[in-house]
Amino acid sequence: MDYILRILPQLIDGAGITIQVFLITLVLAVPLGLALALGRISRWPAVSVAVNGYIWLMRGTPLMLQMLFIYFALPFVPGIGIRLPDFPAAIVAFVLNYAAYFAEIFRAGIQSIDRGQYEGAKVLGLTYAQTMRRIVLPQMIRRILPPVSNETITLVKDTSLIYVLAMNDLLRAARGIVQRDFTTSPFVVAAAFYLLMTLLLTWGFQYLEKRYAAHDE
């Protein structure tokens, strides 16, 4: 027990990085995903084809590869040649990748809304943007909460991928101590941290689902 208290500060530092990656990704990937979803169902074929290709690319290649590419290869790409420090590189990769997954969830959610809702709004004079904002998106949110909850929990665990950029996240902090002290208990503590985060998320989403379910009975 003493030992655990002793290693806790290091692990908490690591958890801090993990939580930062998680929160920043979520805050940026959700709006980007929504924009992509709207682009995907756009009536301009050029837009929807481009977005489709993007989603295919992001979902069709490993996140770790994307992260390595942005960190190591991007500086050498002619015409781009940006060298990002490790943290921003990780964030960019996570946001671009997760936005693609969120986009597909949002698109399915938007398309699950009955055509009658659009028509009901249209005959009342609402514009497309007003219909989306006032009628479609609020109904969509309730339906996508379960898959978004899934994706968010996956993100908590995916943050451990930043390990490959040698950043001191929760998992790397734990491994460092394991190697130093020849004991596996830091892994157990790290697992407890991840479990705690996913538990809080699960509760959060359960609360949201209940709140949004208020109107169907």
């Binding site: 009955d114 009658g116 809702q117 028509e119 009901g120 709004a121 249209k122 005959v123 009342l124 004079g125 609402l126 514009t127 007003q130 006032r134 009628i135 609020p138 109904q139 309730r142 208020a214 109107h215 169907d216 009975e217």
Partner: protein
């Protein structure tokens, strides 16, 4: 101004793929008139109504609403619509009630009614709420003000839908089989509401299978079959002695 037709549609053509659904439908409707559109399933009644308020686009023909041109055929025989803002402005004068209500399930009854006046017309809540409450009283649903649609019966939903349409103060009301999705014992309350509207001289175009309503409330009856208006006469005359064999066959079937 007053003697301009509320709706003037001439030679409407509409096809879905190879299926020609409207084959030159024309109609002139004056203020305060109630017209019932009847006919067999698939004859194009809904499509006709939906073309009038731009839920569907016509391929050829001309639509005028209170003297303003919504769409017209160009020299090449193709229908051209007014600019988008103008289309929106014109179509706002028509309210529509659907077979399946299309209420917004995430909003209460009151919110359903005040949504468009606030979002579209920019009215303040203070201005619209008393009006919405008056409309609810009129359709007999004051007690359901804060209920969600899932809690209402079909007949109540449809009366809310009517109140919601009226809140935008339309000059014309379009009804597409407003009672067809209802249990028989619930149609009466909706028809009563519509009858009351007719007595207040609302201009109404009603697609319906309720022959009793058509006979008693409508001034004129339009019988459609296979994308055409086969017969168009004052309601009393039509029901007393339908002229066309197809209308006669249809009425025999209905009654």
């Amino acid at each position: 101004m007053t003697n301009k037709p509320m709706i003037k549609a001439s030679g409407l053509h509409k096809r879905f793929g190879h299926n020609e659904v409207l084959k030159g439908v024309s109609l002139e409707m004056s203020k305060g008139e109630v017209i019932a559109v009847i006919g067999p399933s698939g004859s194009g009644k809904s499509t006709f109504l939906r073309c009038l308020n731009h839920l569907e686009t016509i391929d050829a023909g001309r639509i005028e609403i209170e003297g303003d041109v919504l769409a017209d055929t160009d020299a090449g025989g193709q229908a051209r619509y007014a600019p988008e803002a103008e289309v929106r402005r014109i179509c706002r004068r028509m309210g529509m009630v659907f077979q399946h209500f299309n209420l917004f399930p995430h909003m209460t009854v009151l919110q359903n009614i005040i949504e468009a006046p606030i979002t579209v017309k920019g009215m303040s809540r203070d201005a619209i709420i008393p009006k919405a409450e008056a409309l609810l009283a009129k359709v007999g649903l004051s007690a359901k003000r804060d209920a969600y649609p899932a809690r209402l019966s079909g007949g109540q939903k449809q009366r809310v839908a009517i109140a919601r349409a009226l809140a935008m103060e339309p000059d014309i009301m379009l009804f597409d089989e407003p009672t067809s999705a209802l249990d028989p014992e619930l149609t009466g309350e909706v028809l009563r509401t519509m009858r009351q509207l007719a007595e207040e001289h609302m201009t109404m175009l009603v697609v319906t299978h309720e022959m009793g309503f058509a006979r008693e409330v409508a001034n004129r009856v339009i019988f459609m079959d296979q994308g055409e208006i086969v017969e168009e006469r004052p309601a009393a005359e039509f029901f007393a002695s339908p002229a066309h064999p197809r209308s006669r066959a249809f009425l025999d079937n209905m009654l």
